[in-house]
């Protein structure tokens, strides 16, 4: 049974680990996707996501409106990513690129065995940044509610459907090959 976000937050604030784990299960993939849509590497994305959860723990009693949780989480992780990007742009020595186990591009296709999947995944990297961000949030697991998408991206619920259609059209144009898309969708 799906528990209400407000109940989970209240239970987690009482120290209930199972409720906290459920919040993590619900939103961790979304946070990861947002971080990776900034093209930060895996270590930086991991730092940004972990910092976001730690910030939520210290603010558990202060989230008054559970509806806005996904927006709060998304804003926090985005802010961390922007800081990371700024840091690497100025070329400050806080740059551990050499030390990282993996600077993998979020759109690396090495793990994909299906050629058509790989081609589609590369096409995702060529659509507009705004569309990438929307699609990456929409494609997280478990599927987010439109209310969560709205809060996470700061867009009105009513515009998500039309934007989704527009971004998928863009993706189809970039991917180009009707067979490629058709083949995947028919499965």
């Amino acid at each position: 049974m799906a528990q209400d976000t407000g109940e989970l937050l209240a239970a987690a604030a009482d120290g209930n680990q199972a409720a906290w784990d459920e919040l993590v299960a619900r939103y961790n993939s979304m946070l990861w996707s947002i971080a990776r849509s900034f093209r930060v590497n895996t270590a930086d994305a991991a730092d940004a996501v972990q910092t976001t959860w730690l910030r939520l723990v210290e603010n558990l009693e202060r989230i008054n409106d559970p509806e806005r949780l996904s927006g709060w989480l998304a804003t926090t992780v985005r802010r961390e990513c922007l800081r990371i990007l700024r840091k690497s742009r100025v070329g400050a020595p806080l740059d551990f690129a050499d030390e990282l186990p993996d600077g993998a591009d979020p759109l690396d296709t090495a793990l994909l065995t299906d050629e058509r999947d790989a081609a589609l995944w590369r096409a995702v990297g060529q659509i507009s940044q705004r569309c990438q961000e929307l699609l990456r949030v929409l494609m997280t697991t478990p599927p987010p509610t439109y209310a969560d998408v709205s809060a996470a991206l700061g867009m009105p619920i009513g515009s998500i459907g039309p934007s989704r259609a527009r971004c998928l059209d863009q993706l189809r144009r970039v991917a180009g090959d009707d067979d490629l898309l058709g083949a995947g969708e028919a499965r």
Partner: protein, 152 residues
Amino acid sequence: MTHPGDDDLIERLRRIAAEADPPPGIVGAAARAALATRRLDDELAELVLDSAHEPELVRAAGDDVRMLTFEAGDVAVELQVQAQLHEAGRLAMRGLVTGPVAGLTVETPGGERTADLDADGWFAVEDLPPGPTRLRLTRPDAPAVTSAWIAL
């Protein structure tokens, strides 16, 4: 115009994303473990200044130094963080504490380090790992103050 295949395409992308770029297991484990870092009895010191979000301050201080200020009531701590000179990937921190503070520890999700405060409230800690970090300041006659988490 909504395309009839839109829902299928999103589901296909969901499957590909889960295969190509899932959150690493360690990220989920760290998220679940975060609940244990709660400090119910401490006062939270909020971040009131971060040069990483204010580029003009970075230029003033030099690109390689990050300046942070936390405040809670009569306690404040100003930090300067930079990469360690001869050890890649490690950080050095120096700071100034003002207010009635008895002791200071630097915490990461994996551990903590105690720092000595001199008579004027200065402290220095070296060889810190990058990543989420916070400070805890004990006070003689009041609850301890814990800073907000900040990714260094």
